[in-house]
Symmetry: C2
Subunit: 150 residues, 2 copies
Amino acid sequence: MKNLRPGIIELLKKGSCTPRISDLASKLHSKSTTVHYNVKQMEHDGTIKSYKAVFDYNKIGEGFCTYVLISLGKQEYKSPEVVAGELAKYGNIESVDIVTGQWEIIIKVRTKDIAEYYEFAKKVLSLHGIEKTHTLNSMHQVKTEFMTMG
Amino acid sequence: MKNLRPGIIELLKKGSCTPRISDLASKLHSKSTTVHYNVKQMEHDGTIKSYKAVFDYNKIGEGFCTYVLISLGKQEYKSPEVVAGELAKYGNIESVDIVTGQWEIIIKVRTKDIAEYYEFAKKVLSLHGIEKTHTLNSMHQVKTEFMTMG
DNA sequence: TTCATGATTTGAATATTATTCTAATATATT
DNA sequence: AATATATTAGAATAATATTCAAATCATGAA
């Protein structure tokens, strides 16, 4: 007997979902064929990127959430774009933004606990030409991906 | 003729999607009834909070993305939890976290442009007993909600 | 305005897929 | 080992998305 959850979680984290046309139709007081037409349009013109699940991250071993402000150092040979692209490849990094001001990149990281975060930081943040970091640990995730937790 | 897009976007931002059981089943080399059983289990025990869409936020008038670090001031009568809860109610705030360190709350805000952000900041950040803020503007959103943009 | 063109909506028919139910198998507990 | 519980599987059904053709609406040109 195989434990399907990890595989399901990995797939649903990024996709493998679909809009409920009939639900949208009834909520918007429209015909389902009309909603279907509009949604497909948004998919084709790139307005909609994906359909995915939002999890209770505490229940999938990613309850420890950290924001890391990253500075690259002026004389660095790697551009922020390159470093950001490298960071984006990590599955436990939820978001990567190149920002203005004193820091160059901000990332949001999800790990099981502080120990796993420490391993991540050792492995990832030492590489990639990162000079300086400032860490903000989330004690309470009140809202995530537009979803209010509770 | 009504423009359905705003309504569809609002609903898909938080929900109105469903997992594609058969897609999961084929990718995981399992029977769809088995996947169905496991997914329902995760829904019922709260592991899965919702199924939603991810957008190209530039195309839905939310291309301007800002992280705001918030400090509340020691003698404040409102707790971080209360302020965070109030902030979470705003539809254009993607995430709200209560964090450790020199700042108390970090939020991620989406607006159309800097002008709309200014209106938001005037309206929201002046209320709620917020003492000091530090703003990081995203010049490039490389990854969002686990989805790499491109 | 009227006409013509393209875009959006609609309804009916069909195809897919989720869901239900029952049975079988695996896992855990005593 | 024996019983109870949890998970997987198959067949039948229900629900829903999708397709297609036709109707309606919106737009711009004459």
